[in-house]
Symmetry: C2
Subunit: 340 residues, 2 copies
């Protein structure tokens, strides 16, 4: 029987448009050996996020570009299999940007031991920087919702948008979601408690917003960009806050995409647009996780997960995030190996 290997996806080409499996190289290497101060982590779950597509452009964005030949960057939850770090012990759970691979050697000091929350998939669906911290910081530190305000969330059934909207409900706002399928809209209203939801694939977003936001829009949580964003801008109130969390409609663009013609509303309404990235706000991580855990225990924050089996399927699966048919449901991640 062959010795176990470390299977990896390495970037082979900068994707043009949607990433293709051929943009990645499937490699098997010997399992790496930790040096002094290092640990060997076996990855269990690999988070797939829209930002993955952004990272493999041939230019730096939020973070440096992944370069050709490098293991594809990705957030994973794993278990320590060997430790030469005083920080961690075999069997500890850790999370980090450990990449699209079975095993990763990392500095023990760069990782924190996680409590073993149950289910472990909660670390993918909610309790990580890309999801929970993003929603928490963007909503509480940037949007700063006040009870009675109206909030519109694009990508409302997405991993971040769904949490952001639920925080809006906790803070007493009227929350209107925009999503790409009737199923997603129903989930937002019936399960998450959004006040209303709009299917941008079948409804006129501007007309729906005019009906559903009779007092205008105080907060926009923008995950999408494009025409949806433009419709939202048309209805902003004085001193509106626009949290620019993502522009997923443009991540696969191969030519410049026109910006919103209603940008002038930001001037007229003395509004603010603020771009932000969770990694700048790690000082808020503990507070975010504590509050989110409490809200989740109280039933005020719900999430759902969409698990893909097998690391070999990661390149194909990541495109589900950009799928016009909107069949993905819940936080997308890959099961790389079995939970201990």
């Amino acid at each position: 029987m062959a010795a176990p290997m470390n299977r990896q996806w390495r970037l082979a080409a900068f994707p043009v448009g949607m990433a293709k499996t051929s943009d990645f190289e499937w490699r098997k290497e010997p399992i790496p050996v930790p040096g002094d101060g290092q640990v060997l982590v076996r990855n269990i779950y690999l988070s797939l996020d829209p930002t993955n597509r952004v990272w493999c452009n041939d230019f730096d964005t939020y973070m440096p570009s992944v370069r050709i030949g490098e293991v594809m960057r990705g957030l994973t939850l794993g278990v320590v299999e060997q430790s030469r770090s005083p920080n961690l012990t075999k069997g500890d759970f850790v999370m980090g940007l450990l990449g699209w691979q079975d095993f990763t050697v990392a500095d023990g000091a760069s990782l924190s031991r996680l409590e073993k929350i149950q289910p472990l998939t909660g670390y993918m669906g909610l309790f990580n920087p890309l999801i929970g911290l993003t929603a928490y910081v963007g909503m509480l530190d940037i949007a700063k919702p006040k009870a009675g305000e109206t909030m519109v969330i694009s990508g409302a059934a997405g991993a971040v948008g769904s949490v952001a909207g639920q925080i809006g409900k906790i803070k007493g706002c009227r929350v209107v979601g925009i999503a790409g399928s009737d199923e997603k809209c129903r989930w937002a209203t019936d399960t998450l408690g959004f006040d209303a939801a709009i299917n941008y694939n079948t409804e006129n977003v501007l007309e729906c917003l005019q009906t559903l936001c009779p007092n205008g829009i105080d907060i926009i949580w923008e995950n999408v960009g494009g025409d949806v964003f433009n419709a939202e801008l048309a209805l902003i109130n004085m001193n509106a806050r626009i949290v620019l969390c993502g522009m997923i409609s443009q991540y696969n663009a191969t030519a410049p995409v026109a910006g919103p013609s209603n940008l002038i509303m930001v001037l007229i309404k003395r509004a603010m647009i603020k771009g932000f990235i969770c990694i700048d706000h790690m000082d808020r991580y503990e507070a975010a996780m504590t509050d989110l855990a409490r809200w989740q225990a109280e039933g005020q924050i719900k999430y759902r997960v969409d698990m893909v089996n097998g690391l070999e399927n990661a390149p194909e699966a990541v495109n589900k995030l950009f799928d016009a048919s909107n069949t993905n449901q819940g936080k997308l991640f890959v099961k790389v190996s079995a939970e201990p």
Copy 2:
């Protein structure tokens, strides 16, 4: 000899595209008589500002729309000719939104007596809310420049942009202006002390910015919008502040104007766009005028004026603000009547 009359321009039609003289009605009415608590003001200078065009759209913007039949709104400097207010005395100078007319009756309590600074045209060129306060608040309270940062100002030779850039120089920034003629660019660099200036009519703005801003752009002062704004956005640094003061390129648009395709840079660079209007910041007026007067006395803030003779010429003159030939030089205003 006929009794003197109050000549007025009233809005006759909501302009489509550039305002035409026929969009206004020239009326002569009896000079109004102040009631109890009121004053009669003879207008001396009438400020012409890009916002005038915005005010006469058929929808509310920063301020309510001027309605058909109303005297056109405008900022004037005038002298009190009759007073039935304990607040003011005949001969006092006042400033306010007293309109495109020879005489205005106003509540005495709504106006403040001005010091008689010399020249009086300084109230048009610098010492008023639309110019001096706008530049001061936008720069010091929103952009918050730090020494060594790079700032780009569009509409750099305009009344507001020129002051904003000079405040940037006072604060130790590298200031690059963008304007529409070589003469304006020379004035910005040679007289105002900008580090460089770009003629957007004859030069490639993006290429020039790449050369002139080798450390990227920390602050954008946006008066224009459109392609110029898009080029600036391409080069913003992490945590850039974008002061959205105007979008003059769109004020006469008759169809939606595409927004900047580089808006995604606001996300990538965790930047902020903030729209603002001076009238929300009147609490800063006294501080602004005090600092601006000191800076002007020290030679650190300069302005120039472009005076048009005769109220009858106001509708034609206002279009100089939007003139593609860029022949206007300095703060535009109309001399309505003689200084006492």
